[in-house]
């Protein structure tokens, strides 16, 4: 490329860039996706999950033993994090009735021989019936019951065998990236990245639909489109969206985790560096698919549900190592997948950009790939548009 054609190219780029600003800020529908959605959604989502952990889940007791030991065991169960004893049911069928009415989600059954077994140095068994409608409750129960049986066991050993209640080996668990084992701390970082990608794609598709509608009215040419080479036109638009999103990214990725006390990083530079290829690749992806929508609104019908698919593909809920090669491959093509991995590594796990090189480089790879794809599609469309308008003229 010689100097003058580069000059032309960059002035075209600048024109596209400024025109796109005008188009975005004069369209309320687009602003809804570009500004309002990224502002409001993180707040709503975090408020939903902010209680973080499930604790004091109602549990009924059926005590067929009725001894000092069994009552003491129930008191210890009540003191655990997950379990809140709501009352003694007379029989297992009464407890089932409570469970059916959602008065409890678990039933603790103490058999009649509990006390005798303890006193005759035999292993005593206690049954726990757990409702499985939500796995998070089951998880909380299991964790509390495990520590309960260990603590009670140590106490019995101490009282009956005069053995030390401490164990010969201590254990110490560290939950990195989410010390409170909370649900918001786990889900919100991923959701924030997905909101960035999806709101960009929705807004861009709506802009594309608007262009298509203007073309329909004006005999297949859009009066508001700047004539520019495809590479400049695509890049100019993407840079416009990226600039609009930078303050939003700061708000979502730095401010939201801070005000809700979620895991957060002080590494502002790395977070900005990481979000650049995320914004660019999502924009190029949006510009590649925008031709699918022939009118402003139909894009919403096909894009909204993909958020659910993308969150599953990202590996946040279902880890990527457990995916089949097909789904693993498809998930690698979604910017949010790598964006989430990079952001979780930096934000929650305290990694630096160096340690998160794979997802970071993948994001740049996708940026290049979607840029090329968007140019190819744009060039193809221009050719077919020209063909149609020349047919119309004759």
């Amino acid at each position: 490329m010689n100097q003058s054609s580069f000059k032309q190219w960059s002035s075209a780029l600048l024109k596209v860039w400024t025109r796109e600003f005008v188009l975005v800020f004069s369209d309320i529908g687009v602003l809804l996706f570009f500004i309002l959605l990224p502002t409001i959604y993180p707040l709503i989502y975090t408020l939903i999950y902010n209680p973080e952990v499930v604790h004091d889940i109602p549990v009924a007791v059926v005590d067929n033993c009725r001894s000092t030991n069994s009552r003491q065991f129930v008191r210890m169960a009540d003191a655990t994090e997950a379990i809140h004893i709501v009352g003694y049911a007379a029989s297992i069928s009464e407890a089932r009735e409570w469970k059916n009415e959602k008065a409890c989600y678990g039933v603790l059954l103490i058999p009649h021989d509990f006390d005798r077994n303890l006193n005759t140095h035999q292993q005593a068994t206690i049954e726990f019936y757990c409702d499985m409608s939500l796995l998070i409750r089951y998880r909380a129960f299991v964790s509390s019951l495990t520590s309960l049986s260990l603590a009670y066991g140590a106490q019995v050993r101490h009282q009956q065998y005069s053995l030390p209640s401490s164990t010969p080996v201590n254990s110490h668990a560290v939950f990195t990236g989410n010390p409170s084992e909370g649900f918001a701390s786990f889900l919100i970082p991923g959701i924030l990245i997905l909101i960035i990608q999806q709101s960009l794609i929705l807004g861009i598709s709506m802009l594309g639909g608007g262009r298509a509608e203007r073309r329909k009215i004006n005999g297949n040419s859009d009066p508001l489109t700047i004539i520019a080479p495809s590479s400049a036109s695509i890049l100019g638009k993407a840079l416009c969206y990226t600039v609009i999103y930078i303050p939003l990214v700061l708000y979502m990725l730095l401010f939201i985790p801070t005000i809700f006390n979620l895991p957060r990083s002080t590494n502002i530079i790395d977070i900005i560096l990481m979000s650049l290829p995320l914004l660019l690749s999502s924009s190029f992806m949006g510009l590649s698919v925008q031709k699918l929508s022939s009118e402003r609104e139909s894009s919403m019908l096909v894009i909204v549900f993909t958020s659910v698919i993308f969150i599953f593909l990202s590996g946040l809920t279902w880890p990527r190592y457990a995916m089949s090669p097909i789904w693993y491959g498809i998930s690698s093509l979604i910017p949010a997948t790598w964006g989430i991995e990079a952001f979780v590594n930096i934000n929650s796990m305290g990694a630096n950009l160096n340690l998160t090189a794979t997802p970071y480089l993948m994001l740049w790879g996708l940026t290049l790939a979607y840029y090329t794809l968007a140019i190819v599609i744009e060039t193809h469309n221009k050719k077919s548009a020209k063909a149609i308008s020349s047919v119309n003229k004759h």
Partner: protein, 388 residues
Amino acid sequence: MIFATVISSLKREFRNLISRRIYFATMIVVPIASACFLLSLLGDGLPVKTPVAVVDLDNSTMSRQLTRTLSALQSVDVAYRYPNFNEAMNQLQEGNIYGFFLIPEDFEREATSNLAPTLSYFCNMSYYIPGTLSFKGFKTMAVSTSGSIVSAQLLGVGAEEGQVDTILQPIVIQEHPLNNPWSNYSIYLCNSFIPGIIALMVLLVTVFSVCSEIKNSTSPQWLHTAGNSIYIALLGKLLPHTLIFSTVAIMCQSLMYGYNHFPLNCNALTIISAMMLLVIACQSVGLIVCCIMPNLRLALSIVSLLGILSFSITGFSFPVESMYGAIGIFSYLIPVRHYFLIYIDQALNGIDIYYSRWQFVSLVIYPIIACFLVPLLKRRLSHPIYVP
């Protein structure tokens, strides 16, 4: 006369549905493809072999034995050994492993001489499932290591084999996970997310179909076909959708309960009728939004926001009871919440249908409210104004 207008309205809508690809895509392809996607992705039910690492600073007989036992666990895959903490921590931060187990220096010596050394384990809880699985594996290891040392000591001082178990674990808590003993994630996630996607698509298509008539100024003609009755017009438009969506949704249910043998502890007709009521309830919510906001773009935006939020606020994963009261209360406004509760009581737990009575009643309330509001829509339909 009425019958003829109903028939011509139905015909008009069927022509409309066939003429545009978007209906085929959103009403049939998206729900079925999403269902197949989720069922295939989560097919294993529980991810096995979470990649983890061991840092063995002791390198003794006992620590090597510990590593071997850890490798034999189903839930974790000891894919790496690292010589020190820093290297393992870097791998954890990079996301190559989801946890690691640290055996300190002099572990064997201290453990056998009652100096109580500490086994540490680090789990990446920013990924819930693999983090939890590695935690479970590590915890089991730590407890059983402790147990095997105590039992060696007890046997050393002359305890009998049979007694040792009782002393180690005087009480056993037997857990009975009711109706999903495998704690299978596929059963739990598919049963909430597949109906959620169907509900979302019903909302979107209903609003799109009704408001497009206003946008394209075809609504007077639509009303005219229906003999100028808003109720016949809506019946003609929405009944074909109800039929198509119900058929698609029942196909998705048969994929879950038939092909994949998910627990179905009630009469199949119960869960099928709940699904059909869900479709109608979502159509009604879509219609209510159209009545309040008869503008295609705004109405679509509202149902998109509502539909996506409903995956979270209906408590599919985080229970409504644990949310802030002011937030959780909104879950009851969303039809798919009631369907989800019916699914839990009927299909999963198989209890008496009496306990689901309020959920069924709630699902019926939506169309009743919609019926009261549609006269509002009629004015807009006869004088369509599109605000771009």
